[in-house]
Symmetry: none
Subunit: 249 residues, 2 copies
């Protein structure tokens, strides 16, 4: 993934240093490191930011400060304005997932604008953007804070970056750690073993039902797709059940 | 979307009331309302939760408290354990997106387990789950807090719920014919039954290995996702094995 595929996170007139730190922490979790600050209310650096960043100091240390939003995105080809509502704008609206797709697909530098905690972006900030980024939330309870909005965008960027490599939605990762199902003959050995235990106890009676009962048994034991270790465990269980109870019982 | 398609968010031994409140706020943003608490450290209700919930009182008011994780998910067919690392588990691993797909595709009740802030889920909590839920994060800076992990899962559930209206990603075909997995308490009944048979035959000896052996047993029997008919069949098999051999043998 080229460096330019990493979007810059632009906090426009952020109020609390703590929220700047939280946003830094949020994006570093997903491998983003570039933060730009437009006229932070309490100046910069802000002593409240560091503790809230919980170790994401690299993001804060490299943060660049700008006087205006226009200056902050001057070198960017693609600007997204994050808003809660689509206030009658005539720009294309994307979700966090749609924005992430565009970032991975379109060459050039991408910047995502987030407004101040209380008020959100002003109309002139939004005017700089070609896309509106809106995360659809519960219309009866919209209460995403700044760091949460930032983390969702960073998460989607990371998720779709991985996806474009593997194109797998349910990750096959760690599936490598998971063994494949045991070979059919091992499974047959397990089923045969269980049948030999059940037979003398009358499980397959009456004879007219025996075939259907065997089918059900096979079906239940085939469904899991147990690997050879699991089949071995189950063989051990059956061997134990063959044994008499412990003398002291 | 049916009510059962909404997963329960299960906070296992959460420490700070503030984080419970933040998690409530996080999920209500995306339309989830059911929170379950397992042995919250500072009891329940917790006066710190309300202010942090920022208006998501409905979630806190309806939160149910349980003594154990097993009790909290007893009525659930699908349990996901959220972990940061895939500590050598042999369960299928899904991301927040994969879990959301499964929740929308598979009938039955779904529960997502989140561990305590510092330590994460214990091995015995993870043993209850059929899937591991891991959000892939920056390997050099993994610092997702509880509410952030919760919000990503809730976000994906909401996002894919909207998407699945148009095109299902995991094919729901023939799923109508397939019964959902049995509820967790039925599965526990099966596991308990087998353990009662194995115990007097020395299967759990030596005592130092007993816990690991029980975990393996649970893991092997959790993997299949047997439905209630299949669990009933297996209970019948165990009852048969308890019987003495047929007189004529």
């Amino acid at each position: 993934m080229s460096e330019t595929a990493r979007p810059a996170i632009v906090l426009v007139r952020p109020q609390l240093g703590e929220n700047i730190g939280k946003a830094a922490r949020a994006i570093l979790n997903f491998g983003l490191t570039e933060m730009r600050l437009v006229a932070p209310r309490d100046g910069w650096p802000n002593p409240s930011a560091g503790p809230a960043a919980a170790g994401a100091d690299i993001v804060l240390d490299q943060a660049k400060v700008f006087d205006t939003t226009a200056q902050a995105v001057a070198d960017c080809q693609h600007v997204y304005a994050t808003t809660v509502r689509k206030r009658g704008v005539t720009k294309p609206v994307v979700g966090a997932d749609g924005a992430a797709q565009l970032i991975h697909a379109e060459p050039g530098r991408h910047a995502i604008l987030f407004g101040p905690e209380r008020s959100g972006l002003e109309t002139e900030d939004v005017a700089l953007a070609r896309h509106i980024l809106t995360v659809p939330i519960n219309p009866e309870f919209g209460s995403l804070n700044l760091a949460q909005a930032v983390i969702l965008v960073a998460y989607e960027w990371s998720r779709l970056g991985r996806e474009s490599v593997t194109s797998a939605l349910v990750q096959p990762t760690a599936q490598e750690e998971t063994l494949p199902p045991a070979a059919q003959d091992e499974l047959d050995g397990l089923i045969g073993h269980l049948e030999r235990l059940l037979e003398p106890r009358g499980y397959f009676l009456p004879p007219t039902r025996a075939e259907a009962t065997r089918r059900t048994l096979r079906s239940v034991l085939t469904k899991p797709g147990w690997n050879h270790l699991e089949v071995r465990t189950l063989r051990g269980i059956l061997s134990t059940l063959e044994r008499d109870r412990h003398p002291k019982d």
